[in-house]
């Protein structure tokens, strides 16, 4: 996966984000409002849990038989007059799109909101050929003008306020500052006028897809603004970049996903625009219709249960909105197109960059993400497995990134807990060792990694009598049922 820039690792980016008051307030407002709306529109369906089960089952079945369904999709899409391209990685996908755009002679393209093209860094790749990619989703346009990556899967400009957007528009659209107030309607109007001209001029449209239906060779995009539909219908050439995990077997399966997705993501019963297209049709819409099916780590990820479960994701962003970590640091800290809990399990598997090893630790394992996931991805359990893999990767790395204090402490503790006598010796040692840090019965200014605790929290000193000491003193006769000391 190529990124536009090399972001800071999470442990450096998160504290910076925490100090951004504007970001914290916007995030808290948006996430809390969308949480309660989501709870309402999912709670009103008597069969919501059955829909989640169905979503999980359909995705599981498809991912276990992905080769079969991809081939069927390719056959149908081709029969309908479209062209299928296969891309092993981001670079191949970008090269395919660049050559297709080059063949049209276009110097600009209009883009429907697409995470997959973000993932592969397509805009930067097109820029190398002097091709300007214009994001037409309003929020994507705002972050593009600001020269920033998205900070939320669904609300990419969640970190921006009206005043910032106004000044971006004035500069980018060459507007008279007197003629534009920071009123949402005026701002939307300015963007609409700018985008209309781009749509009418555009010869190439680029999109992703939420679903690819194998039995009919149909692509589907779900959106709110209608700008995506402009991109997929007005230009002569349409190129869609689609991850191979987006396939569903049957048209009928959309019955499940078109309920799960809008209710989980925007907390709407139905999203305003759902576009489908199947190949090319003379005199109607784009005449050159391409799809680039992207692997980029997906087929490797599919090899085990954990990876298959991860790839069920339909990019709804419900897990972001309920995550207490995401709520406080936003999306940029994750350094990827895919932030939040899903990003913390997806990036290490798809991308596997060194700095992705710490993303699985950006969670308290509170489980709020699993509770809302429309395809029931057990994110907390997968986070634990990702952490195990991070530790393994760090151990085989010459320059480990995990704080070594924690590593040493955990290894020592693992040996200590191996037998009750060593454990009890450890308890005695801890009582003695804590003495320099105890003030009035409270542990203060703890050393090493524990300083992270004592900087902001008190901790009562370790008492002299453990539970087991109390039990022994109280009931010496009731110890008949002991296990053997393993030493």
């Amino acid at each position: 996966m190529s990124e536009q820039r090399i972001p800071l690792p999470f442990h450096q980016a998160a504290p910076i984000a925490l100090e951004d008051g504007q970001l914290r307030r916007n995030l808290a407002n948006v996430t809390s409002s969308i949480r309660s709306k989501r709870a309402a529109v999912t709670g009103e369906l008597p069969d919501w849990e059955a829909l989640r089960d169905a979503g999980e089952a359909i995705k599981d079945h498809t991912l276990k038989n992905l080769g079969h369904y991809l081939q069927r999709f390719e056959e149908r899409f081709t029969e309908a007059g479209g062209t299928v391209h296969w891309a092993r990685d981001a670079q191949e996908a970008n090269e395919i799109v660049r050559s297709l755009v080059k063949a049209t002679g276009a110097t600009s393209v209009v883009k429907a909101k697409s995470m997959t093209t973000d993932e592969i860094g397509l805009n930067d790749a097109l820029a190398e050929d002097g091709v300007v990619a214009i994001e037409t989703d309003l929020a994507e346009l705002i972050v593009q003008l600001a020269g920033e990556p998205s900070s939320h899967i669904l609300v990419p400009a969640i970190h921006k306020n009206r005043a910032e957007i106004r000044s971006l528009f004035i500069d980018a659209f060459g507007l008279d500052p007197e003629a534009l107030r920071d009123d949402p309607h005026e701002l939307a109007g300015a963007a609409r006028r700018f985008l209309r001209e781009r749509f009418l001029d555009a010869r190439v449209g680029i999109s992703g897809a939420n679903f690819a239906v194998a039995e009919s060779g149909t692509l589907c995009v779900v959106e709110s603004e209608g700008n995506g539909r402009m991109c997929t219908t007005l230009p002569e050439t349409l190129i869609s970049v689609v991850g191979i995990e987006k396939v569903v077997p049957r048209w009928q399966d959309l019955e499940v996903f078109l309920q799960l997705l809008p209710r989980s993501s925007t907390a709407e019963r139905m999203n305003p625009y759902t576009s489908f297209w199947t190949g090319a049709h003379a005199g109607d819409g784009p005449q050159e219709v391409h799809v680039v099916l992207l692997d980029a780590g997906r087929s490797t990820t599919l090899r085990d249960d954990v990876g298959r479960a991860t790839l069920r994701c339909i990019r709804c962003s419900a897990c972001l909105n309920v995550c207490p970590i995401y709520e406080r640091v936003g999306g940029h800290a994750y350094g990827s197109t895919y932030p939040g809990p899903i990003g913390a399990i997806l990036n290490p598997q798809l991308r596997g960059a060194k700095q992705d090893h710490e993303l699985p630790y950006a969670s308290t394992l509170c489980g709020a993400c699993f509770e809302v996931c429309p395809v029931k991805i057990d994110i907390p359990t997968i986070l634990v497995e990702m952490r195990r893999r991070s530790v393994q990767a760090e151990r085989s790395d010459r320059s480990p990134r995990l704080p070594s204090g924690i590593d040493v402490a955990l290894r020592t503790a693992a040996a200590m807990f191996a037998s009750p006598s060593r454990y009890e010796a450890g308890q005695r040692l801890a009582r003695i060792g804590q003495a320099p840090f105890v003030r009035k019965g409270v542990l203060r200014n703890l050393p090493g990694p524990l300083a992270g605790w004592s900087d902001a929290r008190d901790l009562r000193a370790i008492p002299n009598q453990a539970f087991r000491d109390w039990w022994r003193a109280r009931a010496p006769s009731s110890e008949g049922k002991e296990g053997d000391d393993a030493e």
Binding site: A14, L18, V329, A368, T381, A414, W453, D458, F467
Partner: protein
């Protein structure tokens, strides 16, 4: 007479023995015959959740051996019970070791969280406690989401004489502890704790109660650092209390 083996997790044994003692008080009061297999050490939760599960396979086997012959195992920690009941089977599955999978399947379903044991297994919601104070209940994430203990602790608290239960805004949001998260991502953890402390203050109760000392240790750490004078108590300590009860 019901019998149960006590599983007193290492951090409760060492740091919060009063929670284990309170559990013994309550269970004996309702007539459970208890034993404490003293070979027990640690379930490995902190290691497993930090990615060190490969380093504590011996702790999983040790736990299974220690509690092999117990009819029922009861523990005053939702997160340690969740580790045993949820993570042990996952680890066994990941290891592919058929013997371990069987041993885990034989022992772990018998491991019960304190409030589950009282309400589901013994059918008791009134343990004859008395606690004339205002209390706010923190539904610890592992208790509520991973174990699904639901309102069992609240059912027990509602039957405590003299208690005044208060509501807290955003009660189900995480306090920010998360084990080693509190030191690995200390800044975010502290930001989450600050919000939880504000919500606790808003509830205007004397005591915060939870089914786990880990969250309580964290919340208490914030409440004490800010000198709020609000106490934290394990659910078992409130249920053990007979303060102000007629003799």
């Amino acid at each position: 007479m019901p019998r149960a083996s006590l599983f007193v997790p290492c951090y409760i044994d060492t740091l919060f023995p009063e929670a284990g003692i309170a559990m013994v008080t309550v269970l004996e009061r309702v007539g459970v015959e208890l034993d404490f297999p003293s070979a027990q050490t640690c379930c490995g939760q902190m290691h497993i959740n930090t990615g060190y599960s490969d380093d504590v396979a011996h702790l999983v086997r040790h736990f299974l051996t220690v509690f092999e012959s117990s009819e029922t195992v009861v523990a005053p920690s939702a997160s340690c019970v969740a580790t045993v009941r949820h993570m042990y089977p996952e680890m066994a599955r990941w290891s592919g070791d058929a013997g371990l999978i069987d041993a885990v399947a034989a022992v772990t379903p018998r491991v019960r969280e304190f409030s589950e044991y009282l309400v589901d297994d013994l059918g008791i919601t009134d343990v004859g406690a008395s606690f004339p104070h205002s209390v706010v209940y923190h539904p610890a994430c592992h208790a509520s989401r991973l174990l699904g203990v639901g309102d069992r602790p609240l059912a027990l608290l509602r039957n405590v004489a003299g208690i005044r239960l208060k509501d807290m805004p955003r009660a189900d949001s995480c306090c920010g502890f998360g084990g080693t998260f509190a030191v690995k991502n200390a800044e975010i953890s502290t930001a989450m704790l600050a919000d939880k402390v504000a919500d606790v203050l808003h509830a205007n109760a004397e005591v915060v109660v939870a089914a786990d000392n880990s969250c309580l240790m964290h919340i208490a750490g914030g409440l004490q650092r800010q000198r709020t004078a609000i106490r934290t108590l394990h659910l078992a300590e409130v249920l053990a209390s007979q303060e102000g009860a007629r003799a």
